[in-house]
């Protein structure tokens, strides 16, 4: 049984101008001990999916799903309870995720204290140990610091240490490297890999960057316009993508194009979030679109554990 099991999740937010469909139909199966990448352009619903799992969707949002389970517990009822106990979050911008006016010691201590009943001295030792586990060189000094006195990479390590301090075994990492330098980002990804093997964690990695998928993930799910359109082991998805959108994404990578050639940008734009989509959401932009693509929902096709939704026959891929 997968640790996180989501089938046909939709999140819609009612406004005066009609419902905003932030997530339309996302299915996600994440096994214990893997890093599962969720990739898509901004506005594809990847962050909202993460927020829904954390129970932090905006007030008034309507969450509907055929199945929305974490380790057998229904997230619609248990998300608030699981959050911070078993499910943790690593935010995009560590500078924004840390409270600017509180010391790191205070912020670490608050998290540890919220989860375990320990005397102050032990909590401090625990904080030092966790900071060291994230590879921070001088934990004692870091504890005395305020966020603005740390570099971006150090801040992100503190954020990861906080997530570990909750005791969570499932982490949602929302673009954990976007705000960092490329080399620092790579170090953070390596750290996450290491923590997954050493501590038996499971990570849901939200990103818009194929490199991150290739570098750090075991399996990946591609999201487009609030729908999961393709999922499978990273090797299969990257080397023989099934969905035309995934192929377009890969073609848009800098190293996919010959040196000096223009990047293949995807023509057109994603459907507006308030619209109702009858067929395949990518139909209007798809170079290989058939007539039925805009009208009927695409069927699922698969090669072993690699699955995608498309009208095109499998060999066209």
């Amino acid at each position: 049984m997968p640790l996180l099991d989501i089938r046909n999740l939709s999140v819609s937010i009612p406004t005066l101008d009609g419902d905003v469909h932030a997530v339309r139909a996302v299915s996600l199966e994440i096994e214990r001990g893997e890093i599962h990448g969720v990739i898509g352009e901004s506005g594809c619903g990847k962050t909202m999916t993460g927020m829904a799992v954390l129970g932090l969707a905006p007030k008034g949002a309507r969450i509907v799903a055929d199945r929305f389970h974490f380790d057998g517990e229904d997230l619609r009822e248990r998300a608030a309870h699981l959050r911070g106990r078993r499910i943790g979050m690593i935010a995009q911008d560590p500078a924004a995720a840390l409270n600017p006016v509180l010391s790191i010691a205070r912020q670490m201590d608050d998290v540890i204290r919220a989860h375990r009943d320990l005397p102050h001295r032990n909590r401090r030792a625990e904080a030092i140990e966790l900071l060291a586990a994230t590879g921070l060189p001088d934990p004692e000094r870091v504890l005395r610091s305020y966020p603005h006195q740390l570099s971006g990479g150090m801040q992100q390590r503190v954020v990861i240490a906080q997530a570990l301090a909750t005791g969570a075994d499932f982490l949602i990492a929302d673009e954990p490297t976007t705000a960092l330098d490329v080399s620092v980002g790579a170090q953070v990804l390596a750290l996450l890999r290491k923590l997954v093997t050493e501590r038996g964690l499971t990570v849901l990695m939200i990103t818009h960057d194929m490199d991150v998928i290739a570098e750090a993930c075991d399996r990946a799910t591609v999201l487009y316009a609030g729908r999961s359109v393709e999922t499978g082991p990273v090797g299969a998805v990257l080397q023989s993508p099934g969905h035309p959108y995934t192929r377009a994404l890969l073609a848009a990578l800098p190293d996919a194009a010959p040196l000096g050639a223009r990047l293949a940008a995807i023509e057109g734009s994603i459907p507006p979030p308030r619209s109702v989509i009858a067929g395949c959401a990518f139909a209007s932009r798809c170079p290989q679109a058939l007539q039925e693509c805009a009208v009927t929902p695409p069927p699922e096709r698969n090669r072993a554990a690699h699955r995608w939704l498309c009208h095109l026959p499998e060999d066209a891929a």
């Binding site: 954390l54 932090l56 959050r83 911070g84 106990r85 943790g88 979050m89 935010a91 995009q92 911008d93 924004a96 995720a97 840390l98 409270n99 600017p100 006016v101 509180l102 608050d110 998290v111 919220a114 989860h115 954020v159 906080q162 997530a163 301090a165 909750t166």
Partner: protein, 340 residues
Amino acid sequence: MELLRYILRRTFLSAFVLVGVTFLVFVVAQVVPSDPAALYAGPRPTAEQIEKARQELNLDAPLPARFATFAGAMASADFGISYKSRRLIAEDLRAYLPATLELAIFSTGLALLIGIPFGVIAAARQGGWADRLCSFGSIAAVAMPTFFLAMILQLIFAQWLGILPLSGRLSREIAISAPLPMVTGFNLIDALIAGRLEAFGDALTHLILPALTLASYPAGVAMRLTRSAMIEILERRHIVAARALGLSEPRILFGHALPNAMGPALTVIGLSFAYALTGAVLIEIIFAWPGLGRYVSEAILAKDFPVIAAVTMVVTICYVVMNLLIDITQALVDPRVALS
């Protein structure tokens, strides 16, 4: 460096403002339609007495010279003598200023203690009934005439319930038969110094009603400022992150969000202190509180202008210094202030 420059600049501006304030008070004193010499000379003065008073008060000297004398006297805290009582104003102030300061400081604390938590609650329940109730309460507190609120509180707590004294600063038994030795002039502190708990309690119960009256307006303002600051802060990422880390809601509100709202809180301290100082003019009469407010309102009736000018000067100085301190604190807490 930026910080030091900012502090120096603000201090200089405050000093400049105080000179301007002195000048303004002097100018206003010149337009008094009644003749100060006639007042000074006592009841039914003869022409000779008035002339003598005129010389004593140096009223015939040219204006610039008189301003110089006036400013010099103000700078050395020599406020002259009251036309009416002929007592040294500086001496009166020494007795009255602590009484008013005690009231002002106490009510400022009360305003923060009431306003900030309610502002936090309103922000946490934005749009809910608790928010609406708090918001309406703050509007009502701001619109309430202070002098009227004073009377209502007296009616409820002193007349009907009888749990708090109607007026005064100390009970008669203590004030007359066993007066407190005056060390600081603050009754609460003097009572503690003398080790007399019963006097401390007595002084405290006398403080509550006037302080509550003065606190209502700034508490309303504090509530609104805190609410709007908190609403903005609660949407920040680090609050979402704190939730995701499983911190309890009270801990997030008061431990993580509120410390980010210290800026508005400091503003409120200045505001309520100023309000308490001036509001004292209105409510010290009602509560028979022997402070600057009652002093000045008696002077108003007697047209005792030097007293009015002196009180205006002293209170304005307190106010300017307070604002200076708050600006500097704010710059120390948040260095961005100094840069703008």
